[in-house]
């Protein structure tokens, strides 16, 4: 076979194998989730890595590089996948990268403890025509089970280099680097799986029909035909346009004929043939002492407790409670520090204005508008950072998969996915990271649904409002009142899930199908790097929007020139007066409430701040002012409204980023209407009961 038949493989970056100094070599790392892929990636690239997102999707993309003999090798960490079919977002990303960007080669991480499943992916890589190095990762599990693998035999049968590494100890990494460096000069793999007489005949017939010229140059027509047979009909765009109709007809006929002949579907048949081959390969290459086969591992013993039928749920709730304690016990004092920092900054700006004789509106814009507005959101950064750290621990330790398992049945009854529980729990802290956490859901509809219900979880910002009103109106039942609002939020989330599931997102819940990875001790360095990246995104995206909104609000509370700041005569005061009658049926038809709700869209705790500015000259004054404006019933209605109505801008922005404007608008509009309805209902019913 000729090794360099596809000049497109490295594009304009140079001819493969010319060994010219400084040429960039691009190699992807592929492997199953939890196969030790990131450990190998870290061992290869050390600190030279960047984290970003794959274009257009919210799957994280890690890239790094290392120097080897004067060559710069770029390593792209593909999302962990079990196959290259396009079932999940991760698989699509991996597949598109390999086909469209055609890296110079692929390092396939193979977990020695489950060779067959790991090789299922390798087999697909080879079929795609990629130059592959197999990195046999000797995990602790494989070792403890006494598994031995004949790497030579594996290399001979598949026709690719095999290197054994223990990435955690760094052994085998130098050899892997050498193989990666040499890979561009290696010929294309000659591997070809025999699918059996009937299927091979069909493949030959269809391949002839496709012809030789498929684009891009990195793929082969045999691979394309197999993809089409597996049902990935979208791949037909690789074929010349004039042949497509004929090919589709031939495909339909072939698939129907063979399925009738076998009595089972094509996809299963192809997978079965692959697994049959891999089983044979496994028999050939793997040795394991019979007494160690099927012996329960340490993870199994831990799971007997952690996921047991009786203790699984209580332990999960305990873990979540603990996570919350961490987020708030450690995060809140730090948040206080940030808050004081911003207050200091504000005072500095005002002082500087005095010293520099700058116009007063400049310092007011900076201090009251920008610093105050942005500060009130960035205050939550410590909580969010710790939240991400805690989630990182849950993810990396392997517990997250168990949480989904123990909650699956309950969530299923609600029309939600087992994994939806995690974003919902996080929503009690802050909805922004909670919405980002919905990425872990594979099915688009499950993801959308979870994103829509997350804002009904009472986040820590709403707690600020509850605390103020509960203390003012229900001093003897504060805890109960606040708790009832948390319950109301959950109830509405469940109701919303039901409504949207039956109208807009009609589809059965995608069943939870996940692997329980063995438990790991997380690595602190990776946890910190990850949490920093995720919270950095929060600062950038939320910060820009909030800054704009804060300035706008400031301007509206000042204009027109000459009227008192934040009085009824200002633009915002007039808007409040205009809106107030809308809220009259809910019992709070005063302009101050309307303005504070409007301002609360910037961030929900701004509701309290605005009320303070508008009608309270000091904390004691605010309470008595509130008593003049609200009755206990209308106060409760107002709290319910604050919980339910349009989520804050940061949340809407997060929803937009994870979905699109239409869903963000739907979420904002739906919750506004729902909030109004619930508030009116509470006030009207409450009045009947009280009087």
């Amino acid at each position: 076979m000729s090794g360099h038949e596809s000049p497109g493989i490295s594009g304009a970056r140079g001819v493969p194998g010319d060994g010219r100094s400084g040429r960039r070599i691009r190699i992807a790392i592929a492997g199953n989730p939890n196969s030790g892929k990131s450990t190998v990636f870290n061992a290869l690239t050390g600190a030279h890595q960047t984290v970003g997102n794959w274009p257009g999707v919210t799957v994280e993309r890690k890239e790094g590089n290392f120097e080897y003999r004067g060559h710069n090798v770029t390593v792209v960490d593909l999302p962990g996948t079990y196959s290259l079919s396009a079932c999940s977002l991760d698989e699509q990303v991996a597949h598109n990268y390999l086909v469209e960007e055609a890296p110079d080669g692929v390092v396939a991480i193979v977990d020695a403890s489950d060779l067959k499943r790991s090789l299922y992916l390798v087999e697909q890589l080879l079929e795609l025509g990629a130059r592959v190095i197999i990195d046999l990762n000797m995990s602790d599990i494989a070792r403890s089970r006494g598994i031995e693998i004949n790497a030579k035999a594996l290399s001979r049968i598949l026709g690719v280099p095999v290197v054994t590494t223990t990435a955690s100890k760094g052994s085998g990494i130098e050899e892997l680097k050498r193989l990666m460096h040499d890979l561009v000069r290696a010929p294309r793999p000659a591997f070809r799986l025999d699918y059996g007489e009937d299927l091979e005949a069909a493949i030959a017939r269809l391949t002839a029909l496709v012809g030789a010229n498929v684009a891009p140059a990195g793929i082969t027509s045999r691979w394309l035909v197999l993809r089409l047979l597996e049902g990935e009909r979208g791949e037909i765009h690789h074929v010349a346009a004039e042949k497509r109709a004929e090919l589709t007809a031939a495909l339909d006929e072939t698939v129907a004929g063979l399925e009738r002949h076998w009595g089972r579907d094509m996809g299963t048949m192809i997978a079965e043939r692959r697994f049959a081959f891999l089983s044979g390969l496994e028999r050939e290459c793997v040795r394991q002492p019979p007494e160690l086969v099927g012996r329960p591992t340490r993870s199994d013993r831990a799971d007997r407790v952690l996921t047991s039928n009786w203790l699984g749920v209580p332990i999960f709730l305990l873990m979540m409670g603990l996570a919350f304690q961490l987020v708030f016990r450690i995060g809140t004092p730090l948040a206080g520090l940030v808050d004081r920092g911003f207050a200091l900054l504000e005072r500095l700006v005002v002082a500087a204005q005095g010293a520099l004789h700058a116009p007063e509106w400049v310092s007011s814009l900076l201090a009251h508008g920008l610093i105050n507005g942005v500060g009130s959101v960035l205050v939550f950064l410590p909580n969010i950072f710790i939240l991400f750290l805690v989630i990182g621990v849950l993810e990396d330790s392997g517990y997250m998969a168990r949480a989904a398992l123990v909650m699956d049945r309950f969530m299923h009854a609600l029309g939600l996915h087992g994994k939806s529980f995690i974003p919902m729990m996080m929503g009690f802290g802050c909805c922004v990271p909670a919405i980002l956490a919905c990425r872990t859901l594979e099915s688009r509809k499950d993801r959308l649904l979870t994103i829509l219900i997350v804002p009904f979880m009472s986040c820590s910002a709403r707690l600020v409002i509850y605390t103020l009103f509960a203390a003012a109106f229900f001093p003897r039942h504060q805890g109960l009142v606040v708790f009832s609002l948390y319950l109301l939020g959950i109830l509405l989330a469940v109701l919303t899930a039901r409504i949207f599931r039956s109208f807009l997102l009609r589809e059965d819940v995608a069943p939870l199908i996940i692997e329980l990875p063995p438990y790991h001790v997380p690595v602190l360095k990776h946890l910190l790097r990850h949490a920093a990246f995720r919270s950095g995104m929060f600062v950038r995206k939320a910060g820009t929007i909030i800054a704009g909104a804060a300035v706008a609000l400031w301007a509206l509370a000042h204009l027109p020139w000459g009227v008192a700041y934040a009085s009824q005569a200002t633009v915002i005061g007039r808007v409040g007066t205009l809106l107030a009658p809308v809220f009259a049926p809910a019992g709070f038809g005063n302009w101050e409430s309307a303005v504070s709700l409007l301002a609360g869209v910037v961030a929900k705790e701004v509701v309290v701040g605005t009320l303070g500015t508008l009608c309270g000259s000091g904390p004691g004054g605010l309470t008595s002012a509130l008593h003049a404006m609200f009755t206990p019933v209308s106060a409760y209605a107002f709290m319910a409204m604050s919980l339910i109505y349009t989520p804050c801008i940061a949340t809407i922005a997060a929803i937009r980023r994870e979905t699109n404007w239409r869903w963000a608008a739907l979420s904002a509009g739906y919750s506004l209407v729902l909030g109004w309805l619930v508030a009116v209902m509470i006030y009207q019913l409450g009045r009947l009961v009280v009087h």
Binding site: E272, A276, I513, E515
Partner: protein
């Protein structure tokens, strides 16, 4: 029998998977194809089932247990794969 009715600890051979292409694809990736032998690790009434296939533990969420048809394997002479 459906996997949902298998008892914990049972060795079972997968006979049939009644599901759409997307779900089947995910199961295939995890090595669950007809012919493969699994051990039932955890099962709850009408809840998820956990099976062990060689080294890996796979969660099959609520509702999946009814869609996977298995037969009990009484003898288990060696760990040879399903073959053909």
């Amino acid at each position: 029998m459906p996997l949902a009715e298998a008892r914990v600890g049972m060795r079972a051979r997968v006979c049939e998977i009644r599901a759409g292409r997307a779900i089947k694809g995910r199961l295939l990736g995890l090595g669950l194809v007809p012919g493969v032998e699994v051990r039932v690790v955890r099962r709850t009434r009408r809840g998820p089932v956990v099976v062990a296939r060689e080294g890996c533990r796979i969660v099959l969420g609520t509702g999946m247990g009814e869609r996977i048809i298995v037969e009990e394997q009484l003898e288990n002479p060696d760990r040879a794969g399903p073959g053909q």
